[in-house]
């Protein structure tokens, strides 16, 4: 037997890319995954990891290049996928869920082989799991659901698994279960299976990966055997190290403290405070909680204490039936109301004033808000918040889908308003925006994991704080 001959890859991508409209989520990816390999896949939010996984599983077709599977299609090649958002059917039992992915379970007696397969897989991956194959998924805890889903991916049958993709598989598991999983990943790999392992806990990646692929801006920027990386080198490879030296002068004279929450979020008057970290680690929730606590659901009179700029425009911001002017005036409506009636002359003047100040590209503020591009709709939402004269402005990742020119304009406006004494709390997943802040809190798993101030706010420091650097569980 010739040991030097590389085994045939289970999946091979050649020049593969994928675009969504004008956005290129993935470009020019050459990657093959062979049996016996465990590929650690790391990178920022939005680096293209999910798109790559979707190409490998066949959930998306490449818009350029090719994706080839060993046995023709992903299912026949034994490609299995445990998604980050758990995807079991809650009304079925653990065993019954197996029929959704294993098509060879058919006929009247399909439940018996399903039960046998899932029990065997659970025993292998998570010894002493204490999980009943006939338990309804809805009755399981989050950790048990994650265990069941992982076991399903490793279960024999319909065809047997050869490449298992694990996307943040330990996010709901405690240390000992995570250790069992890592142990099984190593066994599976050594037995000739292939794994793609995605985790923000770098210790786990180093514990199982034979090879680490680093993604950034939709491309693979580094691809080496795991031994070729150090932890700090890996963090550096994930982020841009470039940083403009044009940081505007910061206020050293702190105003009075205007925000202090139980979770440790503090802000002084005139400060721009960043909420950093990976997406979905509790930043948006912290802002929403703060907003709801400071505003009344009952009274709508008097000065506005705090204003909110939504990033998810359709869900949290835009009122689609209305004109630009009406959308813009809503948050500060109490300032335009005389004896219960809206002063429409003042409203129009306010809208035209902000059209000029923030550069909303329209010839008539009475046009429907939906006639504007996304970036201009976002400007309306900014104007809505700033026009309230609220001393505190909360921003929930407000630059999503906003072009570079608009961003620069808005950054300047935020700086100018802060200099006038307004306080900004700004959540963004883009590290570049966080470097514009006076101070930044890094969120991880719903809690504040680190606080950086002034020149400490660098992309590397933010990334390092966003990822758990240390302890390998188990």
């Amino acid at each position: 037997m010739d040991l030097s001959a590389a085994p045939a890859p289970i999946v091979a991508l050649a020049g593969a890319g994928r675009s969504f409209g004008a956005v290129r989520a993935l470009a020019g990816v050459d990657l093959s995954i062979a049996p016996g390999e465990c590929l650690g896949l790391v990178g920022h939010n939005g680096a293209g990891k999910s798109t790559l996984v979707n190409l490998v599983t066949g959930a998306l077709a490449p818009s350029e290049g090719s994706v080839r599977h060993a046995a023709g299609d992903p299912r026949a090649s034994g490609v299995r996928w445990v998604a980050q958002e758990l995807s079991l059917a809650p009304n079925l039992t653990v065993a019954e869920n197996l029929i959704l992915t294993q098509r060879d379970l058919r006929g009247l007696g399909w439940r018996n082989p399903a039960r046998a397969r899932i029990r065997a897989a659970l025993d292998r991956v998570f010894p002493d799991h204490g999980l009943d194959a006939d338990a309804t998924v809805a009755d399981l805890t989050l950790a048990q659901r994650q265990m069941a889903e992982i076991a399903m991916a490793f279960a024999e049958g319909g065809p047997d698994p050869r490449l298992v993709i694990l996307d943040e598989p330990t996010s709901s598991l405690d240390a000992s279960r995570a250790g069992q999983l890592l142990e099984h990943v190593r066994r599976f790999r050594d037995g000739g299976g292939a794994i793609v392992f995605i985790s923000h806990i770098l210790g786990e990646v180093f514990a199982v990966a034979t090879r680490i692929v680093v993604m950034r801006d939709g491309r693979i920027v580094d691809d080496r055997p795991a031994g070729g990386f150090t932890r700090s080198g890996l963090v550096e490879a994930m982020g841009h190290v470039v940083r403009g030296g044009d940081r505007t002068e910061r206020r050293n004279d702190k105003g009075p403290e205007v925000v202090a929450t139980a979770e440790g979020l503090r802000a002084h008057a005139g400060e721009v405070v960043g909420l950093a970290g990976l997406a979905g680690h509790g930043q948006a929730e912290a802002l929403a909680r703060l907003f709801l606590a400071r505003t009344s659901a009952w009274r709508g009179r008097g000065p506005v204490p705090v204003a909110f700029v939504a990033g998810d425009r359709a869900r949290d911001g835009v009122l689609p039936l209305w004109s630009i002017a009406r959308n813009l005036s809503l948050a500060g409506l109490s300032l335009l109301t005389r004896a219960g009636l809206v002063d429409r002359g003042a409203e129009g003047a306010l809208a035209r004033d902000w059209r000029g100040r923030i550069g909303i590209r329209t010839d008539d503020v009475d046009r429907p808000i939906l006639s504007l591009s996304g970036g201009n709709q976002q400007k309306v939402l900014f104007a809505r918040a700033l026009a309230t004269e609220a001393p505190i402005v909360l921003m929930d990742d407000p630059m999503r889908g906003v072009d570079v020119g608009t961003k620069a304009e808005v950054y300047d406006m935020i700086r100018a308003e802060a200099a006038r004494g307004r306080t900004f709390l700004w959540y963004s997943t883009e590290a570049e925006e966080m470097t514009l802040c006076d101070r930044a809190y890094v969120f991880r798993n719903g809690r504040i994991a680190a606080e950086l101030a002034g020149a400490e706010i660098t992309e590397e420091r933010l990334l390092a704080a966003s990822f758990e650097m240390g302890e390998v569980p188990g």
Partner: protein, 311 residues
């Protein structure tokens, strides 16, 4: 929205066509009488329809099903209080409005405190209101004071007095919906309650005011209906459940919320009366009449929603 064709013009066009079709059969000599009857009976639908419109504008899931029971309760209790005596008219009206406020507060308390969906909350509350009406009424038929009976069946400047009241109510609602901060916030909540709350809209305050408003309008309608028909009856509100919703939808308000239409309520209310009287004058039985009325409502709602989907 620009141009001559307004969303409410369809309801008025339908009302006009139905009026013409009825007059064509019954002859011109019946035309003025038909108009007076239409204006009078449409008034009750307008009063309850305005309140229902505000509730429906709050967005999906919001509807006030307690309107018939509130009408009955306000009608019976206020007539019992006045007991047909002269000089008690103002007290009777105030009592009816107070009952409306109480009923609206009860509705909203159920929605807020027990977190019951509005459709269930207002339906279960209406059983309580109806039971209260039964308990207080005990089959008595009390006549309204003569002044109120005369006023509610009379006319001023050729138009029925009740139509003047409904017209005034519609004007007040138009200002409220189109010009006031309340109306703005109501529409914002109906379009996207979450976005509205995050823009600082006092969502709970507006919702509470809206359910109070709807109940007060129902109580007002119940008071005048009892005076007009010479006494309250326990089933007097029954037909106004479907009616209140139908006039909102036919009048051009969005059933999905966020967009209300005050003039359309008047057009739709007249149309709803005229369609029944037209089928009546064509000599159709009660069963056929009901079926055709239902079919017409379905056809109009389907046509209206199709138009919106195409737009």
């Amino acid at each position: 929205m620009s141009g001559l064709v307004r969303p409410w013009s369809w309801a008025f066009a339908a009302a006009g066509l139905t009026y013409a079709a009825t007059v064509a059969l019954t002859g011109v000599q019946g035309a003025p009488g038909l108009l007076v009857a239409t204006l009078t009976f449409a008034s009750f639908s307008v009063l309850v329809g305005l309140g229902q419109m505000a509730v429906i504008t709050l967005g999906p899931g919001n509807v006030d099903l307690s309107i018939p029971a509130v009408m009955t309760l306000a009608g019976t209790l206020s007539l019992k209080l006045m007991d047909g005596a002269a000089g008690t008219e103002a007290w009777g009206l105030l009592a009816a409005l107070g009952i409306g406020l109480g009923a609206g507060a009860a509705n909203y308390a159920l929605i807020l405190l027990l977190r019951i969906p509005p459709i269930i909350a207002t339906l279960s509350a209406s059983f309580m209101f109806q039971s209260l009406a039964v308990w207080s009424n005990r089959g008595l038929r009390i006549k309204p004071p003569d002044t109120l009976a005369t006023f509610s069946t009379g006319a001023t400047l050729g138009m029925p007095n009740l139509a003047w009241i409904a017209l005034l109510a519609a004007a007040v609602f138009w200002v409220l919906i189109e010009r006031s901060a309340y109306g703005r916030r109501l529409s914002a909540i109906g379009q996207n309650a979450r976005a509205a709350r995050l823009a600082g809209v006092p969502v709970e305050g507006v919702r509470a005011a809206t359910y109070l408003l709807s109940a007060v309008m129902a109580a007002l309608a119940g008071f005048w209906l009892a005076c007009f028909s010479g006494g309250a009856a326990l089933n007097m509100g029954a037909e106004y459940l479907l009616m209140s919703i139908a006039v909102v939808v036919i009048g051009g308000s969005s059933i999905a919320g966020g967009n209300s239409n005050v003039p359309g309520i008047w057009g739709a209310a007249m149309f709803m009366f005229l369609i029944v009287s037209m089928l009546n004058s064509y000599g159709l039985g009660a069963g056929v009449r009901l079926i055709l009325t239902g079919a017409v409502i379905i056809a109009i709602v389907a046509a209206a929603s199709g138009r919106r989907a195409a737009a």
